[in-house]
Symmetry: C2
Subunit: 412 residues, 2 copies
């Protein structure tokens, strides 16, 4: 099946918002074996809207639109979809009733023509409920059943929820198959190496399919299968996942698309371990990532941001001699920082980082991108050196945080 995506909205053409709907839908359609041929964006202009839909149908079977379903006059997507597919709008009493109920909740009793307009839908449409907003979506086929259009609201949260809850299933019914996939998150291996070692599995793949993705320092393998039933698809994915793990298993930290911080948090919770952090160059980013996860108070009593040498000595008990002899950016300081955080908070584990994030701050022997991660747990203590020779503050900091999580994952 070939598809085109059509985003409707002047705010996209004005550059006020980024079109994240297109990337989301492209990914979801591709996973389902649907080829995305075009992305189009147009404003709320009825002629251009109709023209683009007709153009897309010249070589596509499916058009998915986002936006232009609101209650105001310039929201025209519904009317144009009707026109192109040869249908007409009719009042749907159950939608009208649900709008009435929602308005009553806001203590509004008067219905404007605009409110009523939202309850009108093409007579042959399959309606998609909107559980996060007011405008319902719908799918509509032409009389011959050869072309279909699916229309969803523009706000990404409404669109994604509607896609997951309704449109995905509608697509499955249209394609007579069910998609199941797993996203295997990896660390310690680059995307090109990942692809190379998996090439024997990727080459000539039909179903399940294997694809690798990269995103700032992390990469992932997606194993997807489209079969007649969910059970069959899941079984095929699980079998292929095992083969993938036979090759790259030691790099995989999640088979469920979790973040590294989530996996580490869960691991600490499961083992009833607590953690404290001492950060210099990352300045609180690690603590912020740990506490981003609800319920983190169970595993994280607190942490220290010790930017100055004084703070390192006073708050963590780093020795003056250590700082003088080895410097603030050194294995010795990193270890004393980790030990200090553990001792001060009484946590089971101490983790630390000290480094030069850049730009600037370099000395003769030490350059931006250099950092040390210290780790103490029970009798175990170790230090990892990071040496990136990179002057990008933001990336050096986020890389250090990732190495801290990796160190935890590998050593507890």
């Amino acid at each position: 099946m070939k598809a085109a995506l059509l985003s409707v909205g002047t705010e996209l053409l004005m550059g006020q918002i980024t079109n994240t709907n297109a990337v989301y839908l492209s990914r979801e359609l591709n996973y389902r074996g649907i080829d995305v041929m075009y992305h189009y964006t147009v404003g709320d202009n009825p002629e251009r809207l109709a023209e683009i839909i007709n153009l897309a149908f010249r070589d596509c079977d499916l058009v998915i639109t986002t936006g232009g379903l609101g209650p105001t006059q310039d929201d025209m997507t519904k009317e144009i979809a009707c026109e192109v597919m040869g249908d007409e709008l009719v009042m749907h009493p159950e939608i009208l009733e649900s709008i009435r109920r929602r308005m009553a909740g806001y203590k509004i009793t008067e219905m404007t023509p605009n409110n009523r307009k939202q309850a009108e839908m093409p007579s042959r449409a399959v309606i998609f409920r909107n559980s996060c907003g007011t405008a319902p979506g719908f799918a509509l086929e032409n009389i011959e059943g050869t072309k279909a259009i699916a229309c969803m609201p523009g706000p990404p949260r409404e669109m994604k929820t509607m896609f997951e809850k309704s449109v995905a299933q509608w697509l499955e019914e249209k394609t007579d198959s069910v998609l199941f996939y797993r996203e295997l998150k990896c660390f310690g291996i680059g995307e090109s190496e990942l692809e190379t070692v998996l090439l024997p599995l990727i080459d000539g793949q039909t179903d399940p399919t294997i694809a690798t993705y990269a995103k700032e320092g992390e990469c992932s393998v997606r194993v997807a299968s489209k079969r007649a039933t969910r059970e069959e698809a899941e079984k095929a994915v699980d079998e292929m996942t095992e083969k993938v793990c036979d090759i790259v298993g030691k790099f995989v930290y999640s088979k469920d698309n979790e973040e590294l911080s989530q996996v580490v948090s869960k691991m600490l919770k499961d083992r009833k371990l607590t953690l404290s952090s001492a950060e210099s160059c990352t300045g609180g980013l690690f603590a912020a990532a740990v506490t981003d996860i609800p319920g983190s108070s169970e595993i994280f009593p607190g942490g220290f941001v010790t930017y100055s040498n004084e703070a390192k000595m006073r708050d963590l008990g780093v020795k003056k001699e250590t700082l003088e002899k080895y410097g603030a950016v050194s294995e010795e300081t990193a270890l004393e920082m980790a030990e200090g955080a553990r001792r001060k908070t009484g946590a089971d584990i101490g983790i630390s980082v000290t480094g030069i994030a850049g730009p600037g701050g370099e000395t003769e022997e030490k350059h931006p991108g250099l950092a040390y991660v210290g780790f103490v747990y029970g009798d175990k203590s170790l230090c990892r050196k990071i040496d990136r020779k990179m002057n990008d503050r933001r990336r050096n900091r986020s890389h250090s945080v990732m190495v801290m999580f990796e160190t935890l994952l590998q050593n507890i």
Copy 2:
């Protein structure tokens, strides 16, 4: 002038990357008074590429393409642009020479036909140098001079740099005018209120133009003018900026599109003040934002992430009675935290936050979205209550950080 944007690349249609070029170029073109009518995305397919360009020229004067300028066979944008505009590719010796030099730097002496292909350009083209990559860009008009196409590489960094350094000027020459703008960042006022109070200035505006933008809890006013010379444009913008500030000046914290954290950092540096933080619900996010700015060690000796009550008592000296009587999420605790951070580090200013980020963690009287920001500086001490009744952890945390910066800005 009316324009269409055409992004070329299968990776966009596969959903592997988000199209950030389109939003960037849309904004830049709109600022310059050029109406963006369409965004298109197609793969590296010559027929579809030519078809879309011809379609765009039906009602646009300008097409800007990104992507498909690389050295490989499937990069076809240059060839198709030539075909549509009625020109032919010729070898540009100076480009060939610069490729040769670049390759020599990598110790490669053999030139492949692909390398040579990159030195071919349309005979009538205006060439745009690529200072971040290999593929140059270009602009090309049709013989009548009524239509123009500008082609740039796809990687956002290469594209943006080329736009700023070359394409912007080419556009100015085409439109015989220079654009100048200021972005006024505001806090403490919502976008709709901002628009309402500025309506007398916005209504019927021609030049300078005023537009309001909103982005998660912050909003901004953009004042732009397009005149014959930069001096005239700048003068017009400055005069209008004064009028805007007469109305909303007290909400404006930057006239140069700076972040709140940057403005606060600069202010502290200028006054040679130092700051320490004590964070509970934000878990290090505030410290991470402060230390995100290079040179922050001058103003920030360090901070505390005190998640547990024990940490609040031990690291900050918060009194046990305070925690028992008022609770951890209270004005009293927030103030003792701020005071503790200041006392411990010897900083001039102490700032703190304690709250319930959610989801969960609520008590009978205290709900997610409730937080207190404490502030001490000299004899001054104050507390700000935040009460959002919102269960969104990420947004509650980032909102608290913003209020911390606001509190600093208003009180030092």
